[in-house]
Amino acid sequence: MASLGGSSSSSTEYIVRVPKNTSKKYSIMAFNSGDKVNCSSWTQARMERDMSNRRMYGVEETEEGAAGSEFGKKQREEARRKKFGIVTREFKVEDQPWILKVNGKAGKRFKGTKKGGITENASYYIFTQCPDGAFEAFPVNGWYNFVPQAKHRTLTAEEAEEEWGRRNKVVNHFSIMLQRRLREQERGPDDDDEEGEKGGKKKKKKGGRGGDLRIHDLEDDLELSSDESDSSGGEDGDSKPKKKEGDVKGKGKKKKKKRGSDSEANEDSDDGDFEGLEVDYMSDESSSEEEVGEEKAKSNKEAVPKGIDEASESEEESEEEKQNEEEGKEEEEEEEGKKTPVQTKKKRDSSGESDTSEDSDIDGEAASALFMKRTPPKRGGGRGSGGSSRTGSRPGTPSIDSTSTSNTLRAAASKLEQGKRQVVGGSSESPAAKRLKMESSSTAVTTQSPAPSGKSTPQPPSGKSTPSSSDVQLTEEAVRRYLIRKPMTTKDLLKKFQTKRTGLSSEQTVNVLAQILKRLNPERKNVNDKMHFYLTE
């Protein structure tokens, strides 16, 4: 319905004033409506400029004062900066952000950053109504966007990336921050803090544990089974922090923490990742036994090979685990050896852990191996020193107690005797100290362990064993032939007995070769700065 005329319009007029000299400067404080800020609910508030960006003239540079300062340093620095054209923006207080604290220490905090460019093209005015009905307009001097500041801990960008990758696996997000907190504490260790922290966390943890469901792969199960038994019924990652509480701080925590982080890192791998891994035997436990046994029988205390492959690693691992244990070494190793193929398949945490520590060891060993290689005749000394250094460098890993494997070991050893592999017999000479992964072999044990009567694998007869049907056999005879023909270096010899053709691993080759050389005791001569061996018949 069209209405005629200007009906129903009423208006009131107000005078607008723009006061001239106000000492007050008006600014806008803008909050996001999502933050649900209700200004009237504030009981008290404090607001200050955030001066953290101010670079004091002397703050970043060396201290003032007599010691360590130079005469005229400031001016010189200033001149230098000018020369290079470095322009440092002036620190303007009015442009600095605000820090607003509402309701005291426990209340909210806001940071207000100045929004630029509001006075460039248009001006904002605040119209307030005065008691006399007139409007007063004040120009707005600045616009600050206030955002609430998080008091809870947040993840850094890298950590966030990590966690994002695991988002489908981790159900309990509480543990993410907990791990981070504990990691931080480890970096800046303070036991009391940790205690308090953990104590404080206890309640939450219990609650968390109750409702917690951790998706674990086979990894986790295996890992936990191999863990110490002090973990009380913890089947998920959450048990780790609890374990940490109970444990002796130093070692246990360190180990587990590392595990924790390791396990979390490891979960990143998908199924297909392990396909290319070299493992000696995929399924058969007995064959893995046999293999381990073989290797043991073969090896001697000689130098460590430079090459490293999976099998070597696993053996090394097992080595490491029991290095300090003299008795029952073989059994332990065997068990480890059994385990390791399985473990390597899945890249266990423990393997990962020992791997990392092994790496340093391997280097050390390789170094000592090199040393060994150069002076095979000087066996005693070389080995001794090498061995001792090696032992020293090994980290103390918990040794796995096992006594039941002696039988199997002996069985394996006896199999070896009949086997085509040549066993180096010089083990009896080997000094006590040297331990190699291959050393796990009975031969080493015989000499090193004081009375491993039942344990020691019977040595296959020293000297040449029947050569197998393969083309190239690493026998004393073969080596002798080479050395008679012409002088060769150890490297050359190794090349002759390539691992693919003899069927030995590189480490085994090295060991066996070293033993043979010991037995042969060839002449040495220096050609082109290289040590060559030769025999005269």
């Binding site: 208006s11 009131t12 607008v16 008006y26 404090r46 360590g68 130079e70 248009a122 904002y124």
Partner: protein, 254 residues
């Protein structure tokens, strides 16, 4: 000191409502010219068929626009400015003020946002045209000169600056050696202030000839060749004690 930083929350508590109005630049310029109590115009708020209409009318005396150069441009500012009302939806806006003595107080909350628009008129168009003209002038201008500039560099027998310098030098004279002890005193007091000194600076401070000074320095100090404090002299360790700024001097034995 609890006053500073403390925000006066009276405005928030009373829930004072204010309007935030966006005003064109020319209008705010005109408002700045207001005299007396600052009256600039009238605001009419009406309800027309249920809708609120707000309009601002500029005072007559404020309509004269001064163009660049302060000459009357003949352009008049439009007088009528309807307000466009907007909601404050996405943000919660509060107004706070800061005094010179750095007292902060919360004045109130914004309840209404508005934009002041000029009613389109001939006047407005002229005004806009004026603005565009002013803006389109280039900031830098190339100007052709009729005569070459010859006033800048004239050959001079000796520059005035040089003459002054020579005079100063003569006045100062050559540096005279004073007693070794005095020099040592000067050096020690200098090294109390800073640890590392350049030889030139020391010469400046002590006003001694370089060779003499070097002799003395070799006695009590060492010369840093490498490191961060390159080519600087510092006192020998036995002569210095920089622990939080001690005052005593070590006596030298001559």
């Amino acid at each position: 000191m609890s006053e500073k930083g403390e925000v006066d929350l009276t405005g928030a508590k009373q829930n004072t409502g204010v309007w935030l109005v966006k005003v064109p630049k020319y209008l705010s310029q005109q408002w700045a010219k207001a005299s007396g109590r600052g009256e600039v115009g009238k605001l009419r708020i009406g309800k027309n068929q249920g809708k609120a209409e707000v309009e601002f009318t500029l005072n007559e005396d404020l309509t004269m626009i001064d163009s660049l150069g302060n000459k009357p441009s003949g352009v008049q500012a439009p007088r009528d400015h309807p307000f466009t009302m907007q909601t404050v939806g996405g943000q919660t806006l509060a107004v706070f003020t800061e005094t010179q003595s750095e007292r902060i107080s919360l004045e109130g909350l914004v309840v209404q946002r508005a934009e002041c628009r000029p009613a389109v008129s001939e006047n407005y168009m002229k005004l806009k045209r004026l603005q565009i003209e002013e803006l389109s002038k280039p900031v830098r201008l190339s100007q052709q000169l009729e005569k070459a500039v010859t006033t800048n560099y004239k050959p001079v027998a000796n520059h005035s600056y040089n003459l002054e310098y020579d005079r100063k030098k003569k006045e100062e004279g050559k540096r005279a050696r004073v007693d070794k002890q005095q020099v040592l005193d000067m050096l020690f007091s200098a090294f109390e202030k800073h640890q590392y000194y350049n030889i030139k600076d020391l010469v400046d401070i002590t006003k001694q000839p370089v060779s003499y000074l070097k002799e003395i320095l070799r006695d009590i100090g060492i010369y840093n060749v490498k490191g961060t404090h390159k080519n600087t002299w510092e006192l020998k360790p036995e002569y210095r004690h920089y622990q939080g700024g001690e005052e005593e001097e070590k006596e030298t034995d001559d």
